[in-house]
Amino acid sequence: MSSQPRGPKAPRPNWVSTRNPCKACAPLGAALVMRGIAGAVPFLHGSQGCATYMRRYLISHFREPMDIATSGFNESTTIFGGEKILSQGLDNVTSQYHPALIGIATTCLTETIGEDVHGLLHEYHEKREGAEAPLLVHVSTPSYNGTHIDGFNDAVRAVVEQLAEASAISSADAASSVNLFPGMVSSEDLRFLKEVAAEFALPITLFPDYSETLDGPSMDKYHKIPEGGTTIPALRATPAAKASIEFGRTIRTKRTAASFLQERFEVPAKRIGLPIGVQESDVFFAAMEKLSGRKTPEKYRMERGRLIDAYVDGHKYLFGKRALVIGDEDLVVGLAAFLAETGVIPVLCASGGKSGALKHSIAEVTTHVREPITVRDGVDFMTIAEEVEFGELKADFIIGSSKAAKLARQLGVPHIRVGFPIHDRIGGQRILHLGYHGAQQLFDLMVNTMLEVKQDSSSIGYSYL
């Protein structure tokens, strides 16, 4: 799904293989969601390596403990089924961690051999009647379908589906509350969203919430399960909320937690883009105004005003600059909206994800951009590099996850790190992408990056710019 590349170049071969992937696999996203439930332990039903590799990948980004249990398949359990190791694994997680909930995700192995996890968990639960028994939720995440983002969104939906209680609807407390499903954002973004809700005096159920579990304070004692996370009572009460908000323009094609709550419990669902930049944040704040019945607090009006003032101060440094935007689809859409409103042309918007809605979503948020924007979904980094070369895209910088570092080096352009994963810098979990303040930080960083290029490449070495 690309617009025509410009320039008379060699035809791009249609590669069969994936070369330098721009995605991880589905169970990783699911494990991250489970880490965002209070008192929960993520559990992968599969080989030992899956849990270990995903732990390492997440630890390298969050720099926090990330325990993921596993049933650990061997040859005989692969042939005869993993019932015993699943139940033994759940027993051992229970006795070691005393969790309130175990969140089980499948892997390609268990999906391929056709494990009936739902049935197995049902049996397990029956047998454990009376004993210490955590809640069990599970999500099907075959790694051969979709990406870590699909695993993330599917896990959010599965947890909400399995924990939602119709009886909660009569509760008066819950009825004033709003469900907020932000998608895969940073720990800092989650803290920001909770703060906004508090400023609007609007009770929310934010799910998942790994703002503390994956960015916690230094400890004198090791916490088996880190503090924080969306509470189970809150998850039970999602059907009683007066509305759900979910972020992500590209998940329109998916059945999501919010769409489930709307269909089953008639909770109105509002789907908006990730609030990055002025316009997409305005949509979010407008939604908050409507749901809370309050005006946007002065604090955010001031932030918005300062952001626009900064756009004005910095506009000349950015006008006509060309950016490659690479990452998870909804982040790419949010960033494209933000870049476009500052005068930067998002010449290539690319993602490893393939929702089918990327091109359309980008078009929605870049209507005022006159230059062509190439949109590529389901691509890897070597394909992106070829796209840049054959399309003669001549980028000024890349904005995207750490995995774009190799491409940035190859092209000799600066690389502004955002999203997930950030493996070659510290503080990925503390990057604020959302809201006026998030855009302010990204904007300053972006302008300063361009100024640095100008300063470094000048023989004069201007000291005022």
């Binding site: 071969p13 590669w15 069969v16 293989s17 994936t18 070369r19 992937p21 995605k23 991880a24 696999c25 990783l28 559990f43 599969g46 080989s47 030992q48 390596g49 899956c50 849990a51 270990t52 590799y53 995903m54 732990r55 390492r56 990948y57 630890i59 720099r63 926090e64 403990p65 990330m66 325990d67 249990a69 596993t70 049933s71 650990g72 398949f73 061997n74 040859e75 190791i85 033994q88 694994g89 759940l90 051992n92 997680v93 070691q96 892997t107 390609c108 192995l109 391929t112 051999i113 075959p142 790694s143 051969y144 379908n145 304070p217 230094s218 004198d220 004692k221 090791y222 088996k224 070597m382």
Partner: protein, 454 residues
């Protein structure tokens, strides 16, 4: 004291408190124990990864390729093909219809594009289930493209990391013995089980060069297919990382009659002993003299620096948790050289002999653990009031969360820790973590109060 799962009680030992010595090991990880181990695929991938002029393609869904893209600090003096991630990225329809066609097409296009000297095809979990004949596809691609294309049978569930090492060695054995050896000196070796992390193989190679030993191949640090083809011409296999490479060494002994010795390049004592062992093997007086001279030179250079660090580190407590136990021996002695005490030591894959040797090496009260996990490790760190934890990326947050220093001694490290120079780097890194002023502010040292630190 740690909460240890009943099934794991015999995998933790405290020296002096339990008689007689017993430690269960080489067992499958207990389900739900949150083992720090990986899988068969990991074992193969990690061993073959540093072969820089080969194509490495992961056959399976994308995850296994994503998580191992450019993951090791294994440097190359030439091609950088090993730092790219290739996979067949199997989708649902491939799983249903089989992935053979896709694998063949992927191999052909990648070999055409990158002109590798060989290709390794890693079979992952579901390949073993859907029954792709990877071997047949490799043969076909090899015939068509004229390079060795080797199936690595590394389905994640088919054993442990050690089985992955073996699968990697089986692939290597198909390459060894296919190159010319007429110019190989009788004073020659293969370096087995060094992976050139942060350039370590280059340092080791330089020592051997100064001794007058020809290095035929490094398996696999900065590895080249053409060198590995000639590996059977070497007079001796010098094996570090014995866990992964002893099988290759034994097979080469059987097939080509090449003897092997086990060495370690970590720490001053083990480094020196390794070089002397090689020199002694060749019974060459001149070589032994050169070795003595070199070791003396190196020691004269580094010992004053080490002594400085030792003054600061004397009496500090260390914990070690590494993949292979053999490395742990060297670490215990290296820490001792820095005046530090090892109060806890464990490994993912040690065997009975390894642990027996560790027990002999360690002081009374030291905890020895096999296939441990975050809850156990954190409780050991707390109980022993550890100053520095030595492990890999998965162990790092356990130490940091508790306000404890850390040194990465795993395959992602960017500091060369082998050799004489490596000992200085190790001392510097341990010192830089243990002596940092940040610990003074952590709750572990001063509680959660807000009073001003003096």
């Amino acid at each position: 004291m740690a909460d240890i799962l009943r099934e794991r009680e015999r995998q933790v030992y405290r020296k002096g408190q339990q008689q007689p010595f017993q430690l269960d090991c080489e067992k499958q990880s207990v389900a739900g124990s949150v083992s720090q181990r990986a899988c068969v695929f990991c074992g193969s991938r990690v061993v073959l990864y540093p072969i820089v002029d080969a194509l490495h393609i992961v056959h399976g869904p994308v995850g296994c390729a994503s998580y191992t893209w450019d993951i090791r600090g294994a440097l190359s003096s030439g091609p950088e093909l090993h730092r790219l991630s290739f996979s067949t990225d199997l989708k649902e329809m491939d799983v249903i219809q089989g992935g053979e066609k896709k694998l063949f097409a992927a191999l052909c296009e990648l070999i055409d594009a990158h002109k590798p000297k060989a290709a390794f095809v890693y079979a992952t979990c579901i390949v073993g289930v859907i029954g792709d004949d990877v071997e047949a596809i490799c043969k076909r691609a090899s015939l068509e493209k004229g390079i060795p294309v080797l199936a690595v049978h590394s389905e994640g569930f088919k054993g442990t990391k050690k089985d992955g090492y073996r699968a990697a060695c089986d692939a290597l054995l198909q390459i060894v013995g296919t190159g010319p050896v007429d110019d190989v000196s009788p004073l020659s070796i293969n370096i087995l089980g060094d992976f050139n992390l942060a350039g370590e193989t280059w340092m080791i190679r330089d020592y051997y060069k100064r001794m007058g030993v020809q290095v035929v191949s490094c398996i696999t640090g900065d590895g080249r297919i053409d060198d590995i083809r000639r590996a059977h011409g070497a007079a001796l296999n010098v094996v570090q990382c014995s866990g992964s490479m002893t099988y290759l060494a034994k097979s080469m002994k059987e097939k080509y009659g090449i003897p092997f010795i086990r060495v370690s390049y970590f720490g001053v004592d083990d480094m020196s002993k390794s070089l002397y062992d090689v020199a002694k093997h060749f019974k060459d007086k001149e070589m032994l003299k050169r070795t003595q001279l070199m070791v003396r030179e190196e020691l004269q250079r580094i010992m004053p620096v080490i002594a400085d660090y030792r003054r600061a580190l004397e009496g500090k407590r260390a914990a070690i948790y590494v993949g292979g136990a053999f490395k742990a021996f060297s670490l215990v002695s290296a820490l001792r050289l820095l005046g530090m005490k090892t109060v806890m030591v464990g490994s993912q894959t040690g065997n009975k002999d390894d642990y027996e040797q560790l027990r002999e090496l360690c002081d009374e009260g030291t905890i020895i653990a096999d296939d441990s996990n975050p809850l156990e490790l954190s409780s050991f760190l707390e109980e022993k009031d550890v100053d520095v934890f030595i492990g890999g990326v998965k162990e790092r947050p356990i130490a940091y969360k508790l306000g404890i220093g850390f040194c990465d001694h795993n395959h992602e490290r960017k500091e060369a820790l082998a050799g004489f120079e490596g000992m200085v780097n190790f001392a510097r890194e341990v010192h830089g973590s243990v002596m940092s002023p940040v610990w003074r502010l952590t709750p572990r040292k001063r509680g959660n109060g807000l009073e001003v630190v003096k």
